[in-house]
């Protein structure tokens, strides 16, 4: 491969990597790892993969997948997430999921718990089609939403929907280490039957006297949405606690507002899931174009190819044929929306490859140029 796939951490060269600089001479232009992959996909070093060991349906639309990561995996901290590559309909998608198992698990596996969301092709695909024995590309654990090494004084978890996963990992980790402090947990879900990991949560609640679980159902009659009054009622000492919140944006905003008003925002730790998609503007309009690497902002209409837009802005981006055949002008969509002028297809997924010579802005967009 021309560029080594970037690894996300630096370790001192292992014996294996020193050996492979020699064996790679035999494998060029590939690496030894590409041939090891033929024997066992978990032995690769040029990328990391995980084998699906078990799939388990939590509710009718949520599934827990147990993954066995490859050799160069490193352990995670409870609450961290991981990027998972999923092939669906021939295309490769990347999604980020929280690791729902505690790091103390002793079989070298970890789990992710995925809920099929409305219109989410990928989450549906995971929930319905991934099977035992599949290999999925994964990244290393990332994120700074985790418990401090010193015990949090007394944690309060506020979670909703699949936002339960990091909290679940943290609580199970504290239990596994036998150092669970007095813990209060508010979890919101539409109905009783679709609480992700609900059975395990109730079991923990029954078994551990320091864990106080409050399950709140937002679509079963009375209004159970988050409010300060509700918080005060269920967890009177909420202002003294370390708060970990994860859930949909509307909930997180409400929580933030509430804590700000009470003047205790610094106790609050929030995990947000960033949407990888941009809303597609109704009528194909132009918009603001930002060239991230050059730091140039400019305006573009919906007809002018972005290559031309860049050139008019004084840049000299790579290009060849200028007619969509050579792919010299390929770049990455950082955010926003562009339209392929030949097919009318709209690209709105961050990370998509954009051929600037035949794509125009469709609303605001940012390119890696």
């Amino acid at each position: 491969m021309r560029q080594p796939v970037p690894t996300e951490h630096n370790t001192t060269p292992s014996i294996w990597s020193r050996l492979s600089t020699i064996t790679d001479y035999f494998a060029w232009p590939l690496r030894t790892s590409h041939y090891l992959e033929l024997v066992n996909p978990l032995w690769t070093t040029h990328k990391m993969q995980a084998r699906v060991e078990k799939v388990w349906d939590e509710t009718r639309d949520a599934r827990t997948i147990t993954l066995r990561p490859g050799l160069n995996w490193r352990g995670h901290r409870a609450g961290q997430h991981v990027r998972v590559g999923i092939p669906a309909n021939g295309k490769h998608y990347t999604r980020t999921y929280t690791i729902s198992s505690p790091p103390e698990r002793n079989d070298d596996c970890f789990t992710i718990t995925v809920k099929a969301i409305d219109k989410g092709t990928i989450s549906h695909h995971i929930v319905r089609n991934i099977k035992v024995g599949d290999y999925l590309p994964i990244g290393l654990p990332q994120g700074d939403f985790y418990l401090p090494d010193a015990n949090p004084i007394q944690p309060l978890f506020i979670t909703a929907g699949s936002g339960i996963t990091p909290a679940f990992s943290m609580i199970s980790s504290l239990i596994a280490q036998e150092r669970l402090p007095d813990t209060c947990h508010l979890h919101y879900s539409p109905h009783e039957f679709d609480v992700v990991l609900g059975k395990q949560l109730k079991e923990m609640d029954a078994k551990h006297s320091r864990y106080h679980l409050n399950l709140l159902y937002t679509r079963e009659g009375k209004d159970q949405h988050f409010s300060e009054a509700q918080l005060a009622a269920l967890c009177p000492d909420w202002k003294e606690r370390d708060v970990y919140a994860c859930g949909p944006p509307s909930l997180l905003e409400a929580i933030e507002a509430c804590f700000e008003q009470a003047g205790c925002s610094r106790n609050l730790h929030i995990e947000r899931f960033r949407a990888p998609f941009t809303e597609i503007p109704k009528d194909a309009v132009g918009g603001k174009v930002r060239f991230a690497q050059s730091g140039i902002d400019t305006e573009a209409d919906s007809e002018t190819p972005l290559l031309k837009v860049a050139e008019d802005a004084g840049m000299n981006p790579p290009h060849g044929c200028r007619m969509g055949i050579c792919h010299t002008c390929n770049t990455t969509l950082v955010s926003g929306c562009v339209r392929d002028l030949r097919t009318g297809e709209v690209l709105n997924e961050a990370g998509s490859i954009v051929q600037t010579c035949i794509c125009a802005a469709a609303g605001d967009c940012e390119l890696d140029l």
Binding site: M1, R2, Q3, V5, Y25, F26, A27, W28, P29, L30, H34, Y35, L38, K47, G85, P87, N89, G90, K91, H92, Y93, P137, G320, C321, M323, I325, C326, H327, T328, N330, R342, T343, G351, S352, I353
Partner: protein
């Protein structure tokens, strides 16, 4: 109304219609890509890697049957059969790698999968030319300017006269020799197939201008040589050193056998690639174009030029895979970034379309295409040269 200068009796409107119909074919096929196509390329890649590894192992294994070992099966016929099989397999693996995998990946045919491993911008291939250099000379220059004189360096590769439109020079008398040399040393030829080098030979630029370029090519060549002619042979020779105390066979000879087998595999690949590629644009009946003809070209006219300038080769399924589907050269030139396994379904549709518009569709057996390529090569080595063996005079190259 007719403003174009192309050798066809179509009006501008008809050409634009023709272009729209091609766009429709393209869009329809591209829209239907899915899991099946991904499974295909993954399978080809896996097969190719297993085959390359298997071939290397077989070459090594053959060494245990050298007569010097003195066991019952250790005789030349057994040894040579295994060695031959391994070498042949390695050649086929290299062919698959170059043609069906790398050529097509580097055309961005598989970029749509967004698989971070199978992307045109990171793929490096098993040949002496660095991928990105080749992408420039091939994807940009050749595919944009297909068969246009003075623009497409692939027209004669700077050493041969492949159309009577090129002015004859005495140097062309030797072109049958170049032809054979290029066939045997094709990968080296491709590595040095650079506009900058061509310009230098014509005295248009200084050596310093492309020294960094030569360095990059040099590095790629070094790694190729290090693998095929040093690493693999050396490993065998090192094992042979202790063994040579007991059996009478020189480690140096072992080195030579393995290096030789690798060289033959590379030559097998070179000859095959050369044949398929030369049959794409040089057989009888193909058109070349002047700069004037492509002035103000629309996308539809660009399509038409690709059709007139390319030739298909007929054959079975395996033949298409081994030729990297460049046997569907016409479809490849019309839709260079369509994934290669789909050309066979585009082909009858393009052909029917060409028929309807009364356009030629140059498709014939490998024997005919390579044969007329040779004939043309020999004829054009000498001054003049229409194309006397032309089946249909109305298709003659206009100049």
């Amino acid at each position: 109304m007719k403003t174009h200068k192309l050798p066809v009796n179509l009006t501008d409107e008809q050409i634009e219609d023709f272009g729209r119909e091609l766009d429709a074919i393209r869009d329809e096929i591209l829209d239907s890509r899915g899991e099946r196509d991904r499974a295909y390329i993954l399978k080809v890649i896996k097969t190719q890697r297993s085959m390359a590894l298997g071939a290397r192992v077989l070459i090594y294994a053959s060494l245990f049957f050298l007569p010097a070992w003195g066991h019952a099966l250790a005789v030349w016929p057994v040894m040579l059969t295994l060695l031959g099989l391994g070498t042949f397999m390695l050649g086929i693996a290299k062919i698959l790698e170059n043609m069906e995998i790398a050529h097509n990946v580097l055309h961005a045919q598989w970029d749509w999968m967004k698989d971070p491993e199978i992307q045109s911008n990171i793929w490096e291939w098993d040949t002496m030319s660095p991928s990105d250099r080749w992408m420039h000379s091939h994807n940009v220059v050749h595919h944009t300017w297909t068969n246009v004189l003075e623009k497409d360096l692939d027209v004669g590769y700077g050493i041969m006269r492949v159309t009577p439109m090129q002015r004859w020079k005495p140097a062309y008398l030797l072109q049958p020799v170049y032809f054979i040399l290029l066939m045997l040393l094709f990968e080296e030829g491709v590595a040095f197939h650079e506009q900058a080098i061509d310009d230098h030979i014509k005295g248009k630029n200084k050596f310093a201008d492309f020294k960094p370029l030569l360095k990059r090519i040099g590095y790629k060549i070094w790694r190729q040589v290090a693998k095929d002619y040093i690493a693999w042979p050396l490993a065998a020779a090192l094992v042979a050193i202790p063994i040579s105390f007991f059996v009478d066979f020189s480690p140096l000879a072992v080195f030579g056998i393995v290096a030789g087998a690798n060289a033959i595999a590379n030559v097998i690949r070179n000859i095959w690639a050369f044949m398929i590629i030369f049959c794409g644009h040089f057989p009888a009946g193909v058109h070349n174009f002047t700069l004037e003809q492509v002035e103000g070209e629309t996308r539809a006219r660009w399509y038409l030029r690709q059709l007139l300038g390319s030739c298909n080769i007929e054959g079975g399924k395996l033949f298409h895979v081994l030729s990297g589907n460049l046997s569907h050269q016409i479809e490849h030139h019309l839709f260079p970034d369509m994934c290669s396994n789909r050309y066979k379904e585009a082909s009858p549709r393009v052909r029917a379309l060409a028929d309807r518009y009364g356009l030629p569709y140059n498709s014939a057996s490998l024997f005919r295409q390579f044969g007329t390529t040779w004939l043309k090569n020999i004829r054009l080595a000498f001054p003049g040269g229409g194309e006397p063996y032309q089946r249909n005079p109305s298709q003659a190259t206009s100049s």
